[in-house]
């Protein structure tokens, strides 16, 4: 199973092509923040750019607090999102340690589902899909016994 990583952000030019692509292709939106990946600058453009996106936790704190099953643990890390089940309580965004979930004004959560559709739209090859090295897939002695 793969996850998206913003592996080479030193190369980022701040074009927002990735966010716009995610919003367009995954969330059917014209937006630069209703997206699984959001680009920000830390202190103006001189400091370069950071990407806000899901780190594919396992277990995922956002799924753990989701009361309705709209977010469920994805095998090996990250979450699966079923928007129809979401009651917009916003707990997931609070629980995420890295501010990877964007809540719009109607408290709709937007987060990365690790599909990789943004990758081909990054002109500087900053983004990458990598195989998740899961601790679960290598069971410890205790679990195995």
């Amino acid at each position: 199973m793969k996850k998206l990583t913003a592996a080479r952000m030193e190369r980022c030019i701040g074009c927002h092509s990735c966010s716009l692509a995610c919003a367009r292709l995954v969330h059917k939106q014209l937006s630069w923040n209703k997206a699984g990946i959001r680009i920000r600058s830390a202190g103006g453009l001189s400091t370069g750019f950071q990407a806000r996106l899901c780190l594919a936790c396992d277990p995922a704190p956002c799924a753990e607090v989701c009361p309705t099953g709209a977010l469920t643990q994805r095998r090996e890390g990250g979450v699966i999102q079923k928007r129809k089940l979401c009651i917009r309580c916003g707990k997931c965004a609070e629980a995420c340690p890295v501010d990877a979930i964007f809540l719009d004004h109607e408290v709709n959560p937007y987060l990365c589902i690790h599909c990789g559709r943004c990758v081909e739209y990054c002109p500087h090859d900053c983004l990458e899909m990598v195989e998740i090295v899961s601790e679960r897939s290598q069971p410890t002695q205790e679990e195995a016994s």
């Binding site: 190369r11 030019i13 701040g14 074009c15 927002h16 092509s17 716009l20 919003a23 367009r24 292709l25 059917k28 939106q29 014209l30 937006s31 630069w32 923040n33 209703k34 959001r38 680009i39 920000r40 600058s41 830390a42 202190g43 103006g44 453009l45 001189s46 370069g48 719009d104 004004h105 739209y121 002109p123 500087h124």
Partner: protein
């Protein structure tokens, strides 16, 4: 499409309030430059001076902004302090997408704040805050403070002015997101006159996409063309700085107040050398995968024992010409330090460089004294130019306050109009020949991008006035359409009229797509009409003597040909801009 009409935010600084207006006219005027002219017709006052508080400062985007790559610019329109006529300036950064996602097609600001203020506006935001403590602050440190005062990092745009804008220099710029500018015609002074230090535009909305696959698949095609083919290589690689060497080679690079068009000492400031020695990285306007913004660095020793500081400085062709070759600067750090100073002060770089080049020659010729210039001005001397730039922005004495109103204003008093390199405004860096000189002198924005005059010069040896002027008029029309969309003009090779039509259709603007030719004519007409109403008389424009003395690779400029071009182009412009009687 988000809506078929225009949604306009009208801010009144006197009362600290905002109204949301809806206006028709999309099919006649599209957006951008067309919309801006329409709004000036409604809110502007042709008969009052530029700094009357009632004059509007207008920002406008187009129907495809945010939808397609490189639809990444904003048009800013205002009555210019430079000539007190209607004017336009274009910039990118994040401004266009912030406006799109802030849910406005245009932002109109009128009135004057009681104290120096910062305005924040967005789909769910409106705030006007006193920032009097920022008075006199340079544009970059102002940015740092404002950044902490308002939310939305990454999805907002910040427009601000430096001391030059506060002091109403006629060529003060508005800095957009540090590396882009509404540079020409003095938009920064208009903000200054409104007591507005900064504008934060927060883009926090999203919009549903059109149904069906047409849009996403066309997006993909356009995106691939822009990124996988070599079309944009020039802008991404060396950037426009690549022109320095090329134009020098062509004997078309202005040097030392245009006394020469070529210099063998160009090496240190060519695009190649800048990229190899000084380039830190590239950056992009939001919504543009090309990344033409080139950021270099200067480092300075501030103490013995190897103590250095460094600063990041954006550079491109215009800057290398204006504070490089035009001032006889042949060291890349020197050029970057000058760019940095211009940036901090919030001046238009071309006007600043050209004005100082004139002042240098005027001092050489004894028309102005060192007492007036406060520092000795000599070609190649960067430190003194740095001081002079500050004096300009801060209006240190009578000489500098005159010069900060335009080179010709200073020349009226001190003489030296013959060697003022002014084509409407201080010239752009293309000494390519007669067609360019006439075109920039008369053109709507006095920008080399109004028309392709500079490239016409390079492609045509023959002298055919009608052919050249037909070209200028038609080329302007096609660019006018792009400037109403508002596309980056670097993308003009990709966005043919046919592709623009498909793009408009794919997001639901079918009628707009069908109306393009008439729309282009409408926009061209209303822009010129608005200009003429505010006092523009193309026939009165003169091209200073220095341009008749230029020698390019084609040989000496032909003054008669240039004069014939000027007369005919002026006639055509006034024909387009004629205001009917009803």
């Amino acid at each position: 499409m988000i809506r078929d009409h225009f949604r306009v935010y009208l801010v009144d600084l006197d009362t600290g309030t905002m109204q949301v207006l809806e206006r028709d006219g999309r099919e006649q005027l599209c957006g951008g430059g067309g919309l801006a002219a329409m709004l000036f017709q409604e809110f502007g006052h042709a008969d009052r001076p530029w700094d009357d508080p009632e004059q509007p400062l207008i920002f406008a985007i187009g129907p495809l902004t945010g939808y397609f790559p490189l639809m990444s610019k904003t048009v800013c329109a205002f009555k210019s302090p430079y000539h007190d006529q209607y004017a336009e300036s274009h910039a990118g950064g994040r401004s266009a997408l912030s406006m799109r996602f802030g849910d406005m097609d245009a932002l109109v600001i009128r009135g004057r704040a009681k104290r120096l203020s910062a305005l924040a506006v967005g789909a769910r935001t409106f705030e006007l805050r006193d920032v009097n403590f920022l008075r006199g602050r340079d544009a970059l440190s102002c940015g740092r403070v404002i950044r902490d005062m308002f939310p939305g990092s990454g999805r907002r745009s910040m427009l601000r002015i430096g001391p030059a804008g506060e002091n109403r220099c006629s060529y003060a710029c508005i800095n957009v997101d540090t590396y882009r500018h509404f540079g020409r015609m003095g938009a920064g002074a208009v903000m200054g006159a409104k007591n507005l230090k900064a504008i934060v535009i927060l883009g926090d909305r999203g919009f549903p996409l059109p149904e069906g696959k047409a849009y996403t698949s066309l997006f993909k095609d356009v995106y691939k063309q822009l990124t996988d083919t070599s079309i944009m290589d020039k802008y991404h690689g060396l950037g426009t700085a690549g022109n320095v060497g090329a134009l020098n080679e062509l004997h078309a690079l202005p040097w030392r107040n245009l006394q020469q068009t070529h210099d063998p000492d160009v090496d240190a400031i060519t695009g190649e050398r800048m990229a190899e020695d000084r380039l830190l990285r590239n950056a992009a306007c939001a919504g543009c995968p090309v990344g033409c913004i080139h950021i270099g660095y200067v480092r300075e020793k501030f103490q013995e024992n190897y103590q250095y500081l460094y600063r990041q400085v954006g550079y491109d062709y215009e800057l290398l010409f204006a504070v490089g070759s035009m001032l006889g600067i042949t060291d890349s750090f020197d050029a970057l330090r000058l760019m940095d100073t211009v940036e901090l002060m919030g001046l238009d770089v071309m006007s600043t460089g050209v004005a100082l080049a004139w002042a240098t020659e005027a001092q050489e010729k004894g028309l102005v004294t060192e007492e007036q210039t406060l520092v000795p001005l000599a070609f190649g001397q960067a430190d003194d130019y740095m001081a002079a730039i500050e004096h300009l922005a801060r209006n240190s004495n009578e000489f500098y306050s005159l010069l900060s109103r335009g080179t010709l204003k200073a020349a009226e008093v001190f003489g030296g109009g013959d060697f003022a390199c002014v084509l409407g405004q201080e010239m752009a860096g293309y000494a390519t020949g007669e067609v360019f000189f006439a075109a920039e002198g008369l053109g709507f924005r006095h920008s080399h991008l109004d028309t392709g005059g500079y490239s016409y010069d390079q492609k045509h040896e023959e002298q055919d006035v009608d052919h050249a002027v037909d070209f200028l008029v038609e080329d302007e029309k096609s660019r006018v359409l792009l400037c109403a969309m508002v596309s980056c003009l670097f993308a003009r090779g990709v966005y043919s009229e046919e592709l623009l039509g498909r793009a408009l259709e794919s997001v639901g603007y079918d009628k707009l797509a069908g109306a393009m030719p008439s729309m282009a004519e409408n926009i061209q007409r209303i822009r010129w009409q608005t200009r003429v109403q505010t006092g523009y008389d193309a026939a009165a424009v003169r091209i200073p003597k220095r341009f008749r003395e230029v020698v390019t690779w084609k040989g000496p400029v032909d003054p008669d040909y240039m004069e014939a071009l000027r007369t005919e182009y002026a006639r055509r412009i006034m024909e387009i801009g004629a205001v009917s009687e009803e």
